[in-house]
């Protein structure tokens, strides 16, 4: 078996702390490294991050490669992309993992293009092939309608981006063997700015955040249109739930992209998940890891009824209307 020597995680820092998916990848990276004896490196870049780097040594990383410079905040693709490209070329990992945050989804393919390679995007599972030692990624094929296990058998560096919420955050470790290497950053001044941030409208608690929601009320095509989703919104408010939807409803303009749940949307882990007019196709249910599922659908043969704890066969829109009126 070809042994992986080094796994490098592209970390992301926002608002003075590592994003959750960075800590999730440390945990998963450590698990993958245990199969091959690889060392686990974390690459981070930002402004005023030395304290954050010291905090990150509480997690089981062997080394943190860091760059600290004012040009690195706010995060700009042209700057972070170049930084990560340089770090990867210097460190020569054979596996690179990154988180599929909004920024990560643009950063990681851009870095892959700069390195002359591909990236296995939107992975919902990772493993190491025990015979070849290569990285395996479980990802959607064909626009999310099917899932496949893929690998990069000939690539010098294998890159995967992972959806936030797939893995558990790493535990902290007492064994503080890791160290920090700060990389010189003066050359960042020469990178031409491509985009300027003029304003940032903070949405805070109003921001839709399905990944953290304890209760989700989601709707699908069975709600038939915007009116159905207006009822669902009122229902969600009534029970203290976040509202989600399937991808076709976002495509049709009935809901927002942030409300999409599924293989190509958010991965959710609520205590309670209510599905109204959702067929239960695999690409949606992959995004639902709930303790309890209640499904409402007028098709008794809908796949959703295989995933639920409680099933109601009926018109989802009418049931919502009756619920709200009584």
């Amino acid at each position: 078996m070809e042994r992986s020597r080094k796994i490098l995680i592209i970390g992301e820092i926002q608002n003075g702390k590592p994003v959750p998916v960075t800590l999730e990848l440390i945990g998963e990276g450590k698990r993958l490294a245990s199969f091959t004896g690889a060392r686990l490196f974390l690459a981070v870049a930002g402004s005023g991050i030395r304290g954050i780097c010291r905090d990150l040594l509480r997690y089981p990383v062997d080394r943190i490669i860091a760059m600290d410079h004012p040009r690195l905040e706010p995060a700009q693709l042209e700057v972070h992309g170049k930084v990560m490209e340089v770090m990867i070329r210097e460190q020569k990992p054979d596996i690179v993992l990154g988180g599929g945050t909004l920024f990560g989804k643009t950063l990681i393919p851009s870095v892959a293009a700069a390195l002359g390679t591909e990236v296995m995007t939107d992975a919902v599972g990772l493993d190491i092939d025990r015979e070849t030692g290569r990285l395996l990624a479980i990802k959607p094929a064909f626009d999310g309608k099917q899932m496949s296990v893929v690998s990069m058998p000939e690539a010098e560096v294998q890159i995967a981006s992972v959806k936030p919420g797939v893995f558990q955050k790493s535990d902290e470790t007492d064994n503080k063997k890791g160290n920090i290497t700060m990389i010189p950053a003066d050359w960042l001044e020469d990178i031409k700015e491509q985009k300027k941030t003029l304003d940032f409208i903070f949405e805070g608690d109003q921001k839709i955040c399905l990944e953290d929601a304890k209760i989700i009320a989601a709707g699908g095509r069975g709600l038939k249109g915007p009116e159905g989703f207006e009822l669902l919104k009122r229902f969600a408010d009534r029970i203290g739930a976040q509202m989600g939807s399937t991808r076709p409803c976002v495509d049709a303009g009935w809901t927002l992209p942030e409300q999409q749940i599924g293989q190509t949307g958010s991965i959710t882990k609520p205590d309670l998940y209510l599905a109204f007019g959702i067929s239960g196709a695999i690409q949606h249910m992959t995004g639902v890891r709930a303790k309890t599922v209640i499904a409402v659908n007028n098709n008794p043969n809908a796949a959703i009824f295989q995933y639920c704890d409680y099933g109601i066969v009926g018109d989802a829109q009418k049931i919502l209307k009756e619920f709200l009126e009584n």
């Binding site: 926002q14 643009t106 893929v150 940032f200 921001k207 991808r247 009824f305 409680y310 209307k321």
Partner: protein, 248 residues
């Protein structure tokens, strides 16, 4: 303003059933086409559409003409294998460069791999232009482009020079419909769809499929709730929610 729109990649014939939700333009394609045409109405200029795919993608390229775009081009591509986006992106970038200078390259949410900005990021890299991702609103003024973009905690307003590649997530466009004159022109025999590329399949595929994957289903002890009508079913739902301590 010269606007280029690239549509969702059309899969090869043998992958069509597994991959393609609809024949021709899908909802995401129509959304981004409407956005481009609305922008053209506001700012003046032209809209050119590129469709990437095998020869049968010519149908989609022709359908784009029915919406009143100024030019529609088929970028011929053979089989790439799932996830091997870099080669598609490089081909698209070459096609865009061959066509001339554009101010905005616009794409919708559903590039090859769903909502990942994979194709957009790589295409912007090869074109060496800024990428503005997850834009909800685009405005042009004084030779600059202004976008209001989704970000983790809110909305970011940005300014950049043109040309730029914008990945738009704007839904609920000002609705347009194809008009008769454009439909007739699109399907006239004299209307040719220019083709870029040879459609040669790639032999080297960096990402390869190992096997299909089916998630393990955990058997659920499902309880089906009955009722004579929606009112009774709604009452049953209410009871279940009370048991779950969701309602008082």
């Amino acid at each position: 303003m010269r606007i280029l729109v690239y549509l969702k990649e059309i899969p090869p014939e043998e992958e069509r059933d597994q991959y393609q939700d609809t024949e021709g333009l899908n909802d995401s394609d129509k959304n981004v086409l409407m956005e481009a045409l609305n922008l053209r109405d506001e700012e003046g200029g032209t809209v050119t559409v590129m469709t990437i795919g095998p020869s049968r993608a010519e149908k989609t390229a022709r359908e784009a003409l029915t919406w009143g775009v100024d030019r529609s081009i088929l970028v011929l591509q053979g089989r790439n294998g799932t996830g091997n986006v870099r080669k598609s992106a490089r081909l698209l970038a070459r096609a865009i460069e061959a066509e001339g200078a554009f101010d905005i390259v616009l794409c919708g949410r559903q590039a090859l791999d769903g909502d990942a900005a994979h194709m957009a990021a790589m295409t912007a890299f090869f074109l060496k232009i800024p990428l503005i991702a997850y834009s909800r609103r685009i405005e042009a003024a004084n030779g600059k482009l202004y976008n209001w973009c989704m970000s983790e905690n809110g909305t970011e307003q940005t300014e950049c020079s043109m040309p730029a590649l914008v990945l738009s997530v704007k839904e609920n466009q000002k609705i347009r419909h194809p008009n008769v004159a454009d439909i007739m022109s699109a399907y006239a025999e004299s209307t040719a769809i220019p083709v870029f590329g040879t459609g040669q399949s790639e032999t080297e595929r960096m990402i390869q499929k190992v096997r299909e994957y089916t998630p393990k289903e955990t058997p659920k002890k499902r309880k089906l709730l009955d009722g004579k009508d929606e009112q009774e079913l709604a009452e049953k739902l209410y009871q279940v929610l009370r048991e779950q301590d969701v309602l008082e």
